[in-house]
């Protein structure tokens, strides 16, 4: 809040001074007095692909300190922005040095269609910088999964099992010591009374005797323990091959939250083959470089992680150029979603033909840091996925696949292919019978939800053959 008010004050002063300066002279300083918010928009639209507002050289010099460098040469600067080659002809020595320094590497800047007022906004923004803090709700939107977990689990540190075990052990120790003490006491009494001493029996004999004494209790307890262990064993056996939540360490600390949420990059920008191929594909480094040629510093990891991309492809972030004859090293990502070899899965069938949202299977990816396998609970908890099909079986198991194939529906009117299949159903007597039974079945399923449009020919994937072994195993 402090900074905010400061900025308001500065603005106020600037506005006042601007009014003064306008009234005093036409030689107003172009670097101050504009609307920094408008300036930022303009900058991002026109300048950001080559310039930065820091000192860093991207595909052109960084703009920090431009007000000092161009002091008193506002007109030339405007010309320089609007028509660089024209301005260069004016013979300004500083401009000449700029041309010599940058044009051979980056070429001429294109003529920019901005007027003096807009330039004023931009330069104001350059001078003031990114002072405005991001609203908190926007920050929260892009929390990573780990951060959310950390917030969620703050209050409820629940390690019940460990406590039960610890208490159990303490009780056992107390019990054993108590038995010892009781025997010692008894012996002391016996000794005094001149009776035979109780023999020094081992703990096991004592336990046996105790168990013999409390047969019913032990039998019930034993049965309970057996059942408990059996269920435990069964559960763990059922977990074999289930890798929900699997999140291997990756060579690069890549944040989906930052890319997919904060910058709203579409999944298929990087995983472009998902639409056409069986593999969704991990983007090759040249795809990363489309953005990271400019973005050299991350908000969390700084330059460290992004440098790994440069190392792979051979890019020098200082000069902003690719290193010639560089021996490129591919990045060895660790596969997150592993299907057994005997399963054939095709992304394009689901993405392009089925039109299924990536999040239906991959969950809230926009909250992940490095990739992880979603759990069914996470998938079901999503609220921003239209038509989400809620499933119960663990992800990437066959039960999960066929559960969805049982629920997912295909509109036979959605493409020429299905339309023809529909026609074939209708053309044969057999087909009509099947079609009718399928539609009846689906209607029954849906009537609880209200009126069903019986004219719509929607079948489930299963009814179209999606449960047959040969559709995924060959």
């Amino acid at each position: 809040m402090k900074r905010l008010s400061e900025r308001h004050i500065t603005r106020l002063i600037l506005t006042i001074s601007l009014i003064f300066s306008f009234s005093l002279s036409s030689q107003a300083d172009i670097h101050v007095g504009g609307d920094a918010v408008k300036g930022k928009q303009l900058f991002n639209a026109n300048c950001a692909s080559c310039h930065k507002i820091t000192e860093e050289v991207l595909a052109a010099p960084g703009l920090k300190g431009i007000d000092q460098r161009w002091k008193g040469k506002d007109e030339l600067l405007i010309l320089w922005i609007q028509n660089p080659q024209g301005a260069a002809g004016k013979g300004d020595p500083y401009l000449k040095s700029l041309v010599e320094k940058y044009v051979p590497t980056f070429g001429w800047m294109a003529n920019q269609a901005v007027n003096a007022e807009e330039i004023n906004h931009i330069l104001t923004y350059v001078k003031e910088g990114d002072g405005a803090p991001v609203p908190t709700e926007e920050l929260n939107k892009c929390l990573t999964y780990e951060e959310m977990q950390a917030t969620a689990s703050k209050g409820e540190q629940n390690d019940g099992l460990i406590w039960i075990i610890i208490i159990g052990i303490i009780l056992a120790i107390i019990g054993v010591s108590a038995a010892n003490i009781s025997r010692s006491l008894k012996n002391a009494v016996n000794e005094r009374e001149g009776k035979d001493l109780e023999p020094e029996t081992g703990y096991w004999d004592v336990a046996k005797a105790w168990m013999w004494k409390h047969k019913k209790f032990v039998a019930l307890g034993g049965l309970f323990m057996f059942c408990y262990l059996f269920v435990l064993l069964y559960g763990s056996l059922m977990d074999i091959g289930v890798y929900e939540g699997y999140k291997p360490e990756q060579p690069i600390w890549f944040s989906h939250a930052s890319h997919a949420c904060k910058y709203e990059i579409d999944c298929q920008y990087c995983h472009s083959s998902a639409a056409v191929s069986k593999h969704a594909g991990i983007p090759s480094v040249n795809v990363c470089m489309n953005c990271h040629k400019g973005i050299k510093k991350g908000p969390v990891t700084g330059e460290k992680e992004i440098a790994k991309i440069y190392e792979a492809i051979g890019f020098d972030p200082q000069t902003g150029t690719y290193i010639a004859d560089y021996e490129q090293k591919p990045i060895e990502w660790v596969k997150v979603h592993n299907l057994p070899d005997h399963v054939y899965f095709n992304h394009s069938q689901h993405v392009t033909v089925g039109g299924i949202d990536c999040k239906q299977c991959h969950g809230p990816v926009q909250t992940y840091s490095v990739g992880r396998q979603a759990t069914v609970a996470e998938i079901n908890a999503q609220e921003d996925v239209p038509g989400l099909i809620k499933l119960t079986k663990p992800t990437l198991t066959m039960g999960w696949c066929i559960e969805c194939h049982n629920k997912a529906e295909v509109d036979l009117a959605s493409s020429a292919y299905y339309e023809e299949m529909h026609d074939r159903y209708r053309a044969s007597e057999n087909g009509q019978r099947f079609l009718r039974s399928y539609l009846d079945e689906n209607m029954k399923k849906n009537t609880s939800g209200g009126v069903v449009d019986s004219l719509k020919t929607i079948l489930t994937v299963k009814q179209l053959g999606g449960w047959e072994c040969g559709k995924c195993h060959y």
């Binding site: 291997p248 056409v276 090759s284 492809i313 292919y417 074939r424 040969g470």
Partner: protein, 1102 residues
């Protein structure tokens, strides 16, 4: 009607031997023994006590459980810079060309993520309708072969290219006589490179071309007849009558893949006519098995047969021993009735024989129609005489340097010994071959060439056509273009690609390929002659082009003398074009004087191995020979009756081994097993060429050597034992050409035996009939338009019923109804609903070439199991071709009655017709029955039916009870007895076991593990992909969008795949054709595979 035939797959069945009876009584004849089950030889040696064993067991169970809980770490490595045209998971196809000196084909190479994994024919732009043979589509394995040379060598030691170039250049500079020995070079740019090399060492270089299997007789006959030493282009599409004397033009003669499609197109009975095919030969060849009339003759009689045909055409018929004059008169009559649309070919490499054949064709007006010598083939340009004189030169020590390019004379030259001794006298010898092969290892330097899938090249197979080879992968090893090597040694260090492009610049040649546009188009199509898929344009016969020459248009009866006179006059009119006239009379005299001995031998190319260029290709080795069904060996083929007379074993089942015999010809001998080949001419022997590669331990690939029962290479002393024996050694020079036959051969029984692996009686159909149906053309035409199921030659199977089917109240026990009326199952809902995938297989068109088998092998990751396992009936082929021999049953029925014998024991009497049996090739794969017997017996529902009519197999569900295989009437299910991917027994030949060869596996198909059943899936992966393509594009699946590997590879369209529910599809139309039927339809299992009755162009002889 003589159509009620008895079919048998092998002599065991025909003779109903005890072994056969035993074999058919058990489904899996050889169960796996405990030894094999454990399969690791080390296990047997280990001395493990019971307690230890239990401990190990306990530990491994615990370890396995723990391991199962751990997430596997799988790396996923993307490109750094992704090539634009590659999308992971999507295949790319590149047009290219295959040429190895023998085989030629226009191909499309399928690559996945940059790896070539499949080769198929280029149907759009390829020659001969883009057909490729089994060798070409299996050649993909060669790319990944670990035995390929990985860089330059000197004396067996690795050197750098710089060292090699320096030393070779120095050696060449001081050489006075340099010789280049190559196979036929058909690449214009390579020829340019050779010319540039020759120019550099002007006057010192001589380039000698020779073909492993020579057609020099054919070209020299044409030199003598027409003044052009060419091998003509043959166009079988224009031949209505075909007479072949010893030419296996569908299997091995010239380029069979260019002939097969055209041949089959002329033999579709729906045309209303069929070409008539006569075959005269000693060995029952693939072509012979397709002939309408086959006459067995001895190799020494080939000339006489041609001469007799010549005489018959001339009106003075005479017979030869074994073939009556009337036969020749009949053939001559048919030929004369089809002037200009017939074809007479001969396989002999004797110029005299070919001379007579040329004059017959000339007389029949075939030149310019079915034979083209104005656009001859550029292949097979070898010259045996030049090669022979080079041997003399080398042995005389007058050759200083030899460069071997593509050729392998140490193996394939008949007098290899002489070549080898000559090579020792050459100071500098350089081989540029891919392998350190027989010749290469004897050379000082090896400068290995790239593999053809790594290379650019231009190839001109026929005048007026240029095909391009383009790389589908960057070179895997440190190899270099042979052309670059030659040019570098000639002082021109240019990249071959640039050199190739410059060939088509205007300053070098008139061909218009210099613009980038036409170049890119040519690369895309794989050929420069875009759109032109004809082998050649028809040209006028040489004689009729001469001005003022008498017309040689033939009509009606014309004598050969008239024709020859016409030809001679024409040639006399323009002597400049022709060096000599046809001198047929001396040729006739020469061939008539040929004398045969007691035993004669034919050395023929093997249909699978050809001349042996790919002897280390395990897929080709395991694909059975189309006629004898022998794998992994060559053998002496003999007539079964000859063998019986000599007391050799004719019943070669798995327990009975073949008898070894010694064959002596031309002073050289070979010891090989004798194998009974029904149909082979009595008194003749046959041996396939192409075997016995690497007899001197050369590194030509581990699959080229024999393997023992435990997977170890067999050794003879320090040498590996090659597969088969090299039969080239028995060849000889006859005059100026090589002769692949010997007319006086000694045969000796070695009184020893040798195991041979044959699939001939595997998976028999238990004597059930109605598997193969056939008829004659006249019978077919008589009922051409009859509804399906009613023609006399393709009746629907019926069952006797005890019900009133006429509605007249009478119950007649003779009443029969269609089998489909009686069903245990409910109709399976695929007819008319959704897709119903199926195959139709036309037995009339199937020539039995085996391309479908190798294509299926590569597409579906089918394991190679090796000879020992094939001997145990455990071949894994998803698709096999059953070859049935047949004889007339009617005569036999009489015999049975006369002899009053039971039917089974009377089978033995059918020995006599097996002298010249007819045969049928029947591709057999899973029939995808709608009422599949296999599905109902699977205890775990691992094999189930899909709503698209497919019989699915879920491998991961299968527990290996093998009930399904027991219940399959077609015997098409295969059990994985071993973990073929990991077991040592298969390490020498199974592609999945080799680190580099594994890259050939299709990533869309599971590699099966031990203990599961597998079978034809009808290329499920392709069906799914095709459907997905349609869905993605929002269109319907149109006919041809999905095609199985076998249908794609079929050269004759015998196998057609499609959606039977799409009534407009070619497949659906064939399924309702009146020739189509189901194999074993009477058992009512309703397969989705249809067969079509075979029609022979023979008279109704019954």
């Amino acid at each position: 009607m003589g159509m009620n035939k008895k079919y048998w797959t092998g002599l065991e069945e025909l003779n109903n031997t005890e072994g056969f009876q035993e074999a058919i009584s058990t489904e899996f004849k050889r169960d796996q023994s405990v030894d094999q089950f454990l399969s690791d030889p080390k296990l047997k040696e280990a001395n493990t006590g019971r307690r230890d064993f239990l401990k190990f067991m306990g530990f491994s169970v615990a370890a396995a459980t723990l391991a199962a809980c751990e997430t596997p770490v799988v790396k996923s490595i993307p490109y750094v810079v992704k090539p634009e045209e590659i999308t992971p998971g999507i295949a790319n196809y590149y047009a290219s060309t295959y040429y190895d000196g023998t085989d030629y084909g226009n191909i499309l190479v399928k690559t996945r993520e940059g790896r070539p994994i499949f080769i198929k024919g280029n149907k759009d732009y390829g020659m001969g309708q883009g057909v490729v043979n089994a060798r070409i589509n299996a050649s993909i394995l060669g790319l990944y072969d670990g035995a390929r040379l990985r860089g330059p060598r000197k004396g067996g030691e690795d050197v750098t290219w710089e060292t090699l170039d320096t030393e070779v250049s120095v050696a060449l500079a001081s050489a006075n006589a340099i010789r280049i020995i190559s196979n036929s070079i058909i690449s214009p740019s390579t020829k340019r490179a050779v010319a540039e090399f020759s120019a550099k060492y002007a006057g010192k270089v001589k380039h000698v071309q020779y073909d492993a299997y020579s057609y020099n007789g054919l070209s020299s006959a044409h030199a003598a007849a027409f003044g052009k030493a060419v091998v003509p282009s043959y166009d079988f599409s224009k031949a209505r009558v075909i007479v072949s004397v010893g030419a296996d033009f569908l299997g091995t003669w010239l380029t069979p893949n260019m002939f097969q499609a055209a041949y089959a197109d002329n033999r579709r009975p729906e045309n209303g006519w069929m070409s008539k095919h006569y075959q005269m030969e000693a060995v029952y060849s693939l072509t012979g098995s397709n002939a309408d009339v086959r006459l067995a003759i001895k190799p020494s009689q080939e000339g006489q047969a041609v001469a007799a045909l010549y005489d018959a055409l001339n009106g003075s018929a005479s017979g030869i021993d074994g073939v009556d004059a009337a036969v020749f008169t009949k053939i001559a009559g048919e030929l004369k009735a089809n002037i200009g649309s017939s074809l007479v070919v001969a396989g002999s490499n004797d110029a005299n024989v070919q001379m007579i054949v040329a004059s017959i064709n000339q007389m029949l007006g075939n030149y310019g129609k079915s034979i083209d010598i104005s656009n001859p083939t550029n292949l097979f340009a070898g010259n045996d005489a030049e090669m022979a004189s080079l041997m003399e030169e080398m042995n005389a020590g007058s050759v200083d340097a030899v460069i071997i390019y593509g050729a392998n004379p140490s193996y394939s030259w008949h007098d290899a010994h002489k070549f080898n001794s000559g090579l020792l006298k050459v100071k500098t010898s350089i081989s540029v071959n891919n392998y350190a092969d027989e010749t290469g290892t004897r050379c000082t330097y090896q400068a290995p060439d790239h593999h053809f899938l790594e290379s650019w090249n231009d190839l001109s197979p026929v005048a007026g056509r240029t095909d391009l080879q383009q790389p589908a992968i960057i070179p895997m090893h440190n190899t270099r273009y042979a052309q670059e090597s030659l040019l570098r040694w000639a002082g021109n260090p240019i990249a071959y690609y640039d050199y190739l492009r410059s060939t088509y610049n205007a300053d070098y040649t008139a061909e218009v390929m210099n613009s980038d546009n036409s170049w890119h188009m040519a690369v895309h199509n794989g050929t420069f002659a875009s759109g032109n898929i004809q082998m050649s344009t028809p040209a006028a016969p040489i004689v009729s082009t001469k001005e003022g020459a008498p017309s040689v248009e033939m009509a009606g009866n014309v004598s050969v003398d008239q024709a020859v006179a016409a030809a001679t006059a024409a040639l006399a009119a323009s002597p400049a074009a022709v060096t000599s006239a046809m001198d047929v009379s001396s040729a006739l005299t020469a061939v008539r004087s040929a004398k045969g001995g007691a035993w004669e031998i034919v050395l023929h190319q093997s249909v699978m191995l050809g001349v042996g260029n790919q002897a280390n290709n395990p897929v080709l080795q395991e694909t059975p020979d189309p006629m004898t069904k022998v794998t992994w060996d060559n053998y002496v083929g003999m007539s079964p009756s000859d063998m019986k007379e000599l007391g050799l074993n004719t019943y070669i089942a798995q327990d009975d081994e073949a008898s070894l015999v010694k064959v002596t010809a031309n002073g050289k001998e070979l010891i090989l097993p004798a194998f009974p080949a029904p149909g082979q001419k009595k008194g003749t022997l046959s041996i396939a060429l192409g075997y016995g590669r690497g007899a001197g331990n050369e590194a030509i690939g581990k699959s080229a050597y024999q393997v023992g029962e435990m997977g170890e290479h067999l050794m003879e002393g320090d040498n590996l034992v090659p597969i088969g024996k090299n039969a080239f050694t028995l060849a000889s020079m006859s005059g100026s050409t090589a002769l692949y036959a010997a007319f006086d051969v000694q045969l000796e029984d070695m009184k020893a035996t040798y195991p041979v692996a044959t699939t001939q009686m595997h998976h028999t159909v238990m004597g059930r009939e109605s598997v193969v149906k056939e008829t004659t053309i006249s019978a077919f035409l008589a009922e051409k338009d009859v509804k399906k199921g009613e023609a006399s030659w393709n009746k629907l199977p019926t069952l006797a019923v005890h019900e009133d089917i006429n509605g007249d109240g009478a119950i007649n026990a003779q009443d029969r109804t269609y089998v489909k009326e009686h069903d245990l199952w409910r109709e399976f809902p695929v007819e008319g609903i959704g897709h119903r995938w199926g195959l139709t297989i036309d037995l009339s068109s199937c020539i039995g070439c085996g391309s479908c088998i190798t294509a299926c092998h590569t597409e579906n990751n089918v394991p190679v199991v090796g000879k020992d396992e094939v001997r145990r009936h455990r071949d894994m082929h998803w698709l096999r071709i059953d070859r049935y021999f047949s004889s007339d049953f009617e005569t036999l029925e009489e015999t049975i009655e006369n002899k009053n014998l039971g039917t089974i024991s009377a089978y033995g009497d059918m020995e006599i017709p097996s002298e010249t049996p007819k045969s049928v090739h029947m591709p057999m794969m899973c029939q995808h029955c709608n009422h599949a017997p296999c599905e109902t017996v699977c205890p775990v529902a691992a094999t189930t039916h899909s709503n698209e009519g497919l019989n699915n197999m879920a491998y991961n569900r299968c527990i290996g009870t093998r009930y399904c295989a027991n219940n399959c009437p077609y015997k098409v299910r295969r059990f994985n007895w071993f973990n073929y991917v990991g077991n040592d027994k298969f390490s020498q030949f199974n592609p999945a076991q080799d680190d580099t060869l594994r890259m050939v596996l299709n990533p869309d198909v599971t590699v099966r593990s031990r203990g599961v059943m597998e079978k034809c899936s009808m290329c499920q992966q392709r069906i799914q992909a095709g459907k997905l393509d349609a869905k993605k594009a929002g269109t319907t699946v149109t006919d041809g969008m999905v095609i199985t590997a076998c249908a794609e590879a079929c050269p004759t369209h015998a196998i057609v795949f499609g959606d039977l529910n799409d009534t407009t599809s070619k497949n659906a139309k064939r399924a309702v054709n009146n020739r189509s039927y189901h194999a074993l339809e009477e058992i009512g299992i309703q397969p989705n595979v249809y067969y079509m009755t075979k029609v022979r162009n023979i008279e109704n002889e019954a």
